[in-house]
Amino acid sequence: MRVVRVSQESEDAAYAAFVEAAWHRHLRTATLLTGDRHRGEELLQDCLVKLYVRWRRAATDDPHAYLRRMLANGNVSRWRRWRRELLTDEVPETVDRRPGGPGGPVDDRLGGLDELQRALLTLPEGQRAVVVLRHVEDLSEKETAAALGCSVGTVKSQNARAMARLRVALQENQEATR
């Protein structure tokens, strides 16, 4: 029988060490998922707070995988909340979601970005999560499906659509820099 007992102090120490080690890597992912550094950091912090609450369970598994799932799903569900899962060809606006907020654009996220980055931002959140997990986090199709709670077939189709759009953007980017 394996019985695990861990003190609060050692739990906190383990969590702190994990955050130190994981922060920069997962912030890159969160930034790509959300579209900008500020919202990426906000998403990562929210997920890390949730992770602390569930640390006892997550630590016995793979906390990196746990966090990755939370980031991907947290971002997708947040956008679903705002009815933005069905992306149009237009770049989504950043919305002030606070009570009483204007609900309109509060910043311009596109200044200074190249075509690939713009194209990534125009992807539906689900497609963006798929390509970030597949090609930045280097997860397999099966691992990506598990992280997003969908089928491998969905990952394949979402990835194909997203890559097609990104390919075009990349070509345009290359032509523009010639």
Binding site: M1, R2, V3, V4, R5, D12, Y15, A16, V19, E20, W23, H24, L27, R28, T29, T31, L32, R37, E41, E42, Q45, D46, L48, V49, K50, L51, Y52, V53, W55, R56, R57, D61, A65, R69, N73, G74, S77, R78, R81, R97, R98, P99, G100, G101, L116, Q117, L120, V131, V132, R134, H135, V136, A146, G149, M163, L166, R167, L170
Partner: protein, 409 residues
């Protein structure tokens, strides 16, 4: 992967690595927020009654016509284990300290119907002051998750005790819940609910809590899959019925385990700090004109909730107060805004199924105030019941920053 895709993948990785270096890692802030979230969750659970996570599969009390409920007969047992362990009837020696995990497991196997245990794990915080284990359990038709905690109280927990009170349905909507006083004076809670936030429809947990006159407080739970959302549902119903859980909790095999436990004396409640009724009364005076609290939960201390409606449907409001004068001042926190008097506050929005808007306030005198509101009148829902919160940012901030909130004495 075709060549073009490889090129795009490389470009994406390049995009990731080209991001500017981030600043220092906010470990202290995250630990602070994490501890606070954990404390808040504990507060919510306490306010919710017998536990938001622990929940049960249908009340199946044996009711005698015209009489009080009685406990069902003991189970057939014993169970077996997928891992080596003690199998003898537990009889811990007097004065030997709390029963070992092996002793608890042996008793548990005797209390449950035949089945196979695996992945036995030690107690979580729920077993504080008592003993407990959780494990996967297969009754032969599929693996489920089961757990037990055993405590011994100096005085019997009554039907009004938190552990035996049905949850606040605003915080933890459930399928069924019933607290009964049995003919022998025992108090029994049987609760059934979905497990929320696990990302899997059909995940159900059953919980039975039994309080006896000798002070024992036994909680047994069963669900149709592990709580870890990465694990698929393994069965349609938990591996133990409410009858079986009730029989397991009432089994005599726990007698020696209970006898070996120290009796827990409930400490004096911190009743001087922020009674729920007082929180709602103060909040009432701070709400915008036209909004009146309804369906208030004032049973807790340091926490209260209620709904307000502005004509677009009721919205849940939660308020938590805590006295942190004894906590060291950790100085300005990243992302927190500061006021000239030293007050710091942090506003955030989080998707918790429905949308939550919150403001946390840390005053220099040590009082921490958290006010949260939702686009729903209850948590654990997939969709809001109204178009947004009933309080604007400015109104939320005015409530949380109000000097009307005062530290006790």
């Amino acid at each position: 992967m075709i060549q073009d895709d490889e090129q795009v993948a490389r470009a994406l990785r390049g995009l990731a690595t080209r991001q500017p270096e981030s600043g220092p890692v906010p470990v202290a802030l995250l630990l602070h927020r994490g501890r606070r979230a954990r404390r808040l969750r504990t507060t919510l659970r306490t306010a919710a009654g017998a536990g938001c996570l622990a929940l049960a599969l249908g009340a199946v009390l044996v009711l005698r016509p015209g009489g009080t409920p009685t406990l069902p007969t003991p189970p057939a047992g014993p169970s077996t284990s997928a891992t080596p362990s003690a199998t003898a009837t537990p009889h811990p020696p007097e004065g030997a300290g709390p029963p070992s995990d092996e002793t608890v497991l042996a008793a548990w196997k005797l209390a449950l119907p035949a089945g196979v245990f695996s992945e036995v794990r030690g107690p979580g915080p729920a077993a504080s002051g008592g003993v407990g284990l959780s494990a996967r359990f297969d009754d032969g038709t599929g693996i489920g998750e089961v757990s037990v905690t055993v405590k011994r109280k100096a005085r019997q927990a009554t039907a009004q005790a938190d552990e035996l009170t049905c949850p606040d349905p605003k915080l933890a909507p459930y399928d069924s819940c019933r607290t009964s006083t049995l003919s022998d004076g025992s108090v029994l809670l049987v609760l059934r609910t979905p497990i929320y936030g696990a990302g899997r429809a059909g995940l159900t947990q059953a919980v039975v809590v039994l309080s006896r006159k000798d002070g024992r407080l036994i909680t047994v739970k069963a669900s149709n899959a592990g709580v870890d959302k990465t694990q698929p549902l393994t069965r349609t119903t938990p591996p133990l019925t409410p009858d079986q859980l009730t029989a397991a909790a009432s089994s005599a095999v726990w007698d020696p385990v209970v006898a070996a436990l120290p009796a827990l004396v409930d400490g004096p409640p911190s009743r001087s700090e922020f009674p729920g009724g007082q929180i709602v009364a103060t909040a009432t005076s701070l709400l915008p004109a036209g909004l009146t609290p309804a369906d208030a939960n004032t049973s807790g201390y340091g926490y209260a909730n209620f709904t307000v409606t502005d004509g677009k449907g009721p919205a849940l409001v939660e308020i938590s107060l805590s006295d942190n004068r004894r906590e060291p001042n950790s100085g300005p926190q990243a992302d927190w805004e500061s006021l000239p008097d030293g007050t710091q506050f942090y506003e955030s929005t989080m998707d918790v199924g429905v949308q939550r808007w919150s403001i946390e306030v840390r005053r220099p005198d040590g009082l921490w105030v958290t006010v949260m509101t939702y686009d729903s009148d209850r948590l654990k829902q997939d969709r809001p019941n109204r178009p947004g919160p009933a309080l604007t940012t400015a109104q939320l901030r005015a409530i949380a920053l109000s000097p009307a909130w005062k530290l006790p004495g």
